[in-house]
């Protein structure tokens, strides 16, 4: 019985065995990997991406994904740095976060109320945000003036940076919302079967729209945090593949792109897996292009593995049923 439960756990969380294999490999082969400082470093470095991935997790469970993330981070980073001098730090950050939520709202309205394909909408918004970010920047970088702003990006409590504490906090909130609130359960229901959810009396349009806003807001927050971390913003931040990295992390974790299943801890696993692999490559002094290639191969590999596991599960279910 206990053995059985373990098996189900593993087949439901494919990311866990993969992570264990990677960690064991790294611990033996990679010098300097196995110390506490390094592991925390990986976590801290990937916290920004993780925060964006939480928003993306909500949206992917809902059955959609957001491509506009990739340039939205550039836009919000620009607003949070560029407005500091004229408006002060707090208003600048607030406006940047609002801009993120606003872009999410536009995406949400166009997808759920107007009914345009989500891929088209978010691809279009990606172009739009890219253009606006460039117009605002005029192809120059902005430097953050505020001490507190930069301090937030680089400061630490113990081994955790402020940003990674925020990430942990958002993970817990995300878990709570998805698991224990009507809104979270509606999200799962819509991702699983939108028509059934509608018939069950869920306001599918509103929930979908809200999930776009959540994703936009957290992407915006991610952009602001990148600006904090670097103390500056450039218009090309995130272009051209940030959204892809985030979506890949969510999917690698085990959340299905078809919607209806997944949780934020999977996403944490996906983010950490990509982060650890990057870290191993750095420690082994591998050229960056080799690590790009390994990243690509791992994405395909994990997807294959997931397929095999799913097929096994289906077979078993068929035999039992």
């Amino acid at each position: 019985m206990k053995n059985n439960r373990f098996k189900t756990f593993i087949s439901n969380n494919t990311i866990v065995p993969i992570m264990v294999i990677v960690l064991v490999f790294a611990a033996f082969v990679v010098p300097g990997f196995l110390n506490v400082g390094n592991i925390f470093n990986v976590f801290n470095q990937n916290a920004m991406k993780g925060i964006m991935a939480i928003g993306m997790t909500f949206l992917i469970i809902n059955g959609y994904f957001d491509m506009s993330l990739c340039t939205l981070v550039g836009l919000t980073a620009a607003l949070s740095c560029g407005l500091q001098e004229s408006l002060g730090t707090v208003p600048a950050v607030l406006i940047a976060l609002l801009a993120g939520a606003a872009v999410g709202l536009i995406n949400g309205i166009l997808v759920s109320y107007v009914g345009i394909n989500a891929f088209v909408v978010t691809l279009a918004m990606m172009m739009g945000c890219h253009g606006i970010a460039y117009i605002y920047h005029k192809e120059q970088s902005f430097v953050a003036r505020s001490e507190a702003f930069i301090h937030f990006g680089t400061g630490k409590i113990g081994p955790f940076s402020y940003i990674s504490i925020l990430f942990l906090l958002l993970l817990v909130i995300g878990h709570f919302v998805l698991r224990y609130t009507d809104y979270g359960r509606s999200t799962y229901a819509i991702g699983g079967n939108a028509a059934a959810a509608f018939n069950a009396g869920i306001n599918t349009k509103l929930v979908t729209c809200m999930n776009f806003v959540v994703c936009g807001f957290l992407s915006g927050l991610g952009g602001v945090l990148y600006a904090c971390y670097a103390g500056a913003s450039t218009p090309a931040l995130g272009w051209p593949d940030m959204h892809m990295l985030v979506i890949a992390a969510v999917v690698l974790g085990g959340t299905k792109l078809s919607g209806g299943s997944g949780n934020v801890w999977y996403t944490l696993g996906g983010i950490m897996l990509l982060g650890i692999i990057d870290n191993i490559m750095n420690l082994l002094n591998v050229q960056t292009y080799v690590s790009t290639m390994v990243n690509g191969l791992i994405m395909i590999g994990v997807l294959c593995l997931d397929k095999v596991m799913m097929a096994k599960q289906l077979k078993k279910a068929n035999l039992e049923g």
């Binding site: 345009i116 739009g128 892809m244 790009t292 994405m299 397929k307």
Partner: protein
């Protein structure tokens, strides 16, 4: 996709919708900028869109099959550096063949993963994009490659003219006609259209949907290779990241052309109209003296409006 009388009329109307948009955008720019409306600029636009036009023709097949191919941008980079890097060593024709084989092979790999293993095309081709980009950087060690002498016939493909008309545009138009014939007149075209519409039904009627999907990715890879030949021969040089973010333009053009993202419908000629709209936006704003990034905002708005109008026209069809 039956070609009943009503469908045909509506199809023609819809095609004219996007063509009308093209005409309106052209006229607006022509009024605003005298440089834009010169014949020389028209020819320049045709030369500029040659690469995207060829790639979009291949992408149309993938999107009709209900998938995406995000790897075409980096494949464009890889094939370009192969073409230029090998030109002086093994001669132009073998170099082009190597590039085309690379395109076919990469398409076959993504096609196998998507068609036979049934993996999600977005993540697979994203992975392939990383792998191919890395290959392009490895082949060149991250440096740009140049031709020793740009006065060879290979460069004429990109730079030369036939009776005042750019050779690359001629190749693009021939390629698009070829692809359109495959889509509309050949057996394979019917197979991909029906597979995109309903893969399961196809399987039951005896079509091997796995092979059909694989072939669509092979066509997309081939198109990226041909696009790379047109692109690299124009300047006689290639950077290992030259194709970055091309995939977005290519997919945008196909969407503007009205192909359904759920698969099952699409038209190469309309895709070409989408390509022309993108080309005119890129060229027009620069000609009017705006910074190049204004085109992205225009691209955003036009895409949303075009897809919205397309959706409305389909709804009306449903109501009638």
């Amino acid at each position: 996709m039956q070609q009943s009388g009503g469908n045909k009329v509506l199809g023609t109307l819809k095609r004219q919708g996007i063509v009308m948009a093209l005409v309106v955008i052209y006229i607006l720019f022509a009024i605003a900028s005298p440089q834009f409306r010169s014949l020389r600029n028209v020819i320049l636009i045709l030369r500029q869109v040659a690469t995207i036009g060829v790639m979009a023709a291949g992408m149309t097949f993938v999107i009709i099959g209900g998938n995406f191919d995000l790897s075409v941008g980096s494949l464009l980079s890889l094939c370009s550096v192969l073409c230029i890097g090998l030109h002086d060593r093994i001669g132009p024709v073998p170099a082009m063949l190597v590039a085309i084989i690379a395109g076919l092979a990469s398409g076959a790999v993504s096609g196998f993963l998507v068609g036979y293993l049934k993996l999600n095309s977005m993540i697979v081709t994203l992975g392939m994009m990383n792998v191919i980009q890395a290959l392009a950087l490895m082949v060149t060690n991250g440096r740009s490659v140049y031709l020793e002498d740009t006065d060879v016939w290979f460069c004429q493909i990109g730079k030369g003219n036939i009776a005042g008309f750019p050779i690359s545009a001629v190749i693009m138009i021939l390629y698009i006609i070829l692809m359109a014939v495959i889509l509309m007149k050949r057996k394979y075209g019917h197979q991909i259209l029906s597979t995109g519409g309903n893969a399961e039904a196809c399987r039951y009627s005896g079509i091997d949907d796995r092979r059909v999907l694989l072939k669509s990715f092979v066509l997309s890879g081939l198109s990226a290779a041909v696009g790379a030949i047109l692109l690299s021969s124009r300047g006689g040089s290639a950077q290992p990241t030259v194709g970055q973010s091309y995939e977005f333009d290519v997919i945008t053009a196909v969407i503007l052309g009205g192909a359904s993202l759920a698969g099952g419908s699409g038209n190469i000629y309309k895709t070409f109209v989408g390509v022309l709209i993108l080309g005119i936006l890129k060229n027009g704003f620069v000609m009017m003296g705006f910074p190049y990034y204004v085109q992205w905002i225009a691209q955003c708005l036009i895409m949303l409006v075009a897809v919205y109008l397309d959706m409305m026209s389909k709804k009306k069809k449903g109501a009638a």
